[in-house]
């Protein structure tokens, strides 16, 4: 019986239950799969008392080929068949000696993750949620303590870093905030005009856009953009620093990481996000104005007059306070997620995603709270 497959040949000769397996050519990674299936077939059809593996024709053998032959020997000996290699070259012995066949039988030290039941998974998720809540609360405590410290010792704040992040969050974010707000203004004006036209009330488009942009959409749109742009950047930055032991280095040098890394980012956000919110409201109104003047035959004068009458100082102030609170939530949770990073590159990615998702969730939650509180104050 002879098989020729790729670069090897395997001759199987049986005489009085003595089987000679003559290998030749290449016994390596390439041919391994094919040799293996040939040997499996041999074990099924043949029941020898003695096996000799003749390697005289083998031109090349790598560690995979050596493993295959050693496993053949192992299997034969396991079932009590005497086995020997014939014409084994020195170089093949070298490779075979290098292999530790025991290693193939050592079970994994840790299992690949056991199958967990529904309740176990549910419990774990609940525990994770609880742990996360505690961590966030602890961080908020640390952040507030650090903020109080900064208020009492303003000179201890790294103002250069604060200005750097003000530029990053504010100046660099201005174009995208302006563009999106302008388009939101255009959309609100256009969609509402379609409805208001039916009642001949298109003049109220100005009031609607102004009120919506100043009270709700300005702060909300700005905060969501800042969460996506800057919240993700904050958590990725601190997360990479955690992995590179830079945060540990700061701690050993006597710096409080929260004060050193988080405070400049949080302060910069609190200072700059309200300004961005004003821009956002302004560009939203400009978007509405464009629709009003070009599509609804309103004059610029009447549009601006309507807009100015639509909101009061209280609305502007409350929207700025809202923006400052959003800024603190976004930057705070982003820094906290960054500090939470353990492990490698993957953990930084997870922290960044979590920073944005949690940031937007907190914005919406806080916005609901503001809606109720402002209703009663007003």
């Amino acid at each position: 019986m002879k098989d020729q497959s790729g670069d090897y040949t395997l001759n199987i000769e049986e005489r009085n239950r003595l089987v000679t397996l003559s290998f030749s050519g290449r016994i390596d990674l390439e041919t391994m799969e094919s040799v293996n299936s040939r040997l499996d077939a041999f074990w099924e059809s043949s029941h020898p008392a003695e096996i000799a593996a003749d390697l005289s024709g083998v031109k090349y053998m790598d560690s995979a080929g050596a493993m295959l032959l050693l496993q053949l020997e192992e299997k034969a000996k396991d079932i009590g068949i005497s086995f020997q290699f014939l014409h084994e070259k020195e170089e093949f012995k070298g490779i075979m000696n290098l292999l530790d066949m025991e290693a193939l039988h050592i079970p994994p030290l840790i299992s690949e993750g056991d199958q967990k039941g529904f309740f176990e998974l549910l419990g774990e998720a609940a525990q994770r949620g609880y742990d996360d809540f505690i961590r966030v609360m602890t961080f908020i405590g640390e952040l507030l303590t650090a903020m109080m410290h900064s208020l009492r010792h303003p000179l201890a704040v790294r103002w250069a870093a604060v200005f750097f992040y003000m530029k990053r969050v504010g100046v660099d974010g201005l174009p995208i905030v302006s563009l999106i707000s302008l388009l939101v203004g255009v959309i609100i004006a256009f969609m509402s005009s379609l409805q208001l036209k039916q009642f001949g009330a298109t003049t109220y488009v100005a009031a609607l856009v102004g009120f919506a942009m100043v009270r709700e959409l300005g702060p909300l749109m700005t905060a969501i953009i800042v969460a996506g742009r800057s919240g993700s950047a904050f958590s990725a930055e601190i997360g990479s620093m955690m992995i590179n032991e830079e945060v540990d280095a700061l701690t050993t040098m006597g710096f409080d990481p929260v004060r050193f890394l988080a405070i400049p980012k949080v302060l910069a956000s609190i200072l700059v996000v309200p300004l961005l919110t004003i821009y956002s409201a302004f560009f939203g109104i400009v978007g509405g104005l464009m629709v009003g003047v070009l599509g609804l035959d309103l004059t610029v004068h009447s549009f601006i007059k309507q807009t100015m009458e639509s909101f009061k100082v209280f609305d502007v102030v409350s929207s700025l306070i809202k923006a400052a609170v959003f800024a603190m939530l976004i930057s705070g949770i982003a820094c906290q997620r960054g500090f939470q990073v353990r492990g490698g590159a993957e953990a930084v990615g997870a922290a960044t995603t979590s920073a944005v998702v949690a940031g937007i969730f907190l914005i919406v939650l806080a916005n609901s709270a503001f809606a109720i509180i402002l209703y009663y104050i007003h």
Binding site: S63, M67, E91, E102, I110, S111
Partner: protein, 260 residues
């Protein structure tokens, strides 16, 4: 000349007049040398002398500004993707910190080179992974993540991955850096065993004296001011007989030779 530089032993690596510049900075100029089949060849030198740059040229990560590098008869400086892929299959590289993919288990890391290149049954891949991990004394660790391992274990796992395809040439970038003396010696033993057992040619960039003395068949020493090789030969011979003050101070770990 050692036993591997016999006339009948063809060089597997030939570097000819290699020059490497970054912008206007010349890092290496007119460097030429050969590495022979089965040799453990060590590139030494103080920090900043261009060792790692030379290694990155030899593994095809950098393209030299001038000169030619022939590895196993393949000109890796020519823009021939097919030839380069053949070359990449023939070599294995152990990076300084192991360069294991953090999100994958050790088994998946070691199986990476196998996965991309041929169709194999999962059972075969599993057996090869176990065997390779066994060769570097990491049997049983296949489900561990890299972050669960010590520095020395990461390097050994990196070595298992570099050997997954049984390369004819293995490159090492400072394998002993950051290892304690015992772990470092263990790695040297593994390196020598693989070299002896499988006849693998090894090119090692190192400045770890103990390891150089233990494993090297032949060394070349690079120098920053000369931008090239200032010494070549048997490490013990260089240590004891060199006249060059830079070589003497390097191999004797002293500043004596540099005093004028």
């Amino acid at each position: 000349m050692n036993h591997l530089q016999k006339a009948d032993n063809q060089p597997v690596i030939v570097v000819e007049n290699l020059t490497m510049k970054f912008g206007d900075d010349i890092i290496l100029q007119d460097v030429s040398f050969e590495v022979f089949q089965g040799e453990i060849f060590v590139i030494v030198g103080v920090s900043g002398c261009g060792k790692s740059t030379l290694l990155k040229n030899m593994i095809g990560l950098y393209k030299p500004t001038a000169g030619r590098i022939m590895i196993e008869g393949i000109d890796i400086t020519a823009d021939d993707e097919v030839a380069l892929n053949r070359f990449r299959r023939a070599i294995g590289v152990l990076f300084q910190a192991g360069a294991l993919i953090g999100s994958m288990s050790l088994a998946d890391n070691v199986a990476l080179p196998l996965m991309g290149r041929r169709s194999m049954s999962p059972d075969t891949v599993d057996r090869i992974v176990k065997m390779k991990l066994g060769m570097v004394n990491l049997a049983g660790y296949e489900n561990h993540l890299p972050l669960e391992l010590s520095g020395g274990m990461k390097k050994r796992a990196g070595l298992a991955r570099a050997m997954a395809m049984d390369p004819t040439i293995l490159f090492f970038d400072e394998p002993n850096t950051g290892l304690d003396p015992v772990t470092s010696a263990e790695l040297d033993v593994t390196v020598k065993a693989i070299n002896r057992g499988m006849g693998t040619t090894m090119v090692i960039v190192s400045h770890d004296l103990a390891s150089i003395m233990s494993v090297a068949h032949r060394v070349i020493m690079l120098d920053k001011s000369q931008k090239g090789i200032i010494a070549e030969g048997d490490p013990l011979d260089l240590k004891e007989n060199s006249k060059d003050p830079k070589v003497v101070s390097f191999f004797n770990r002293s500043l004596e030779g540099l005093k004028t």
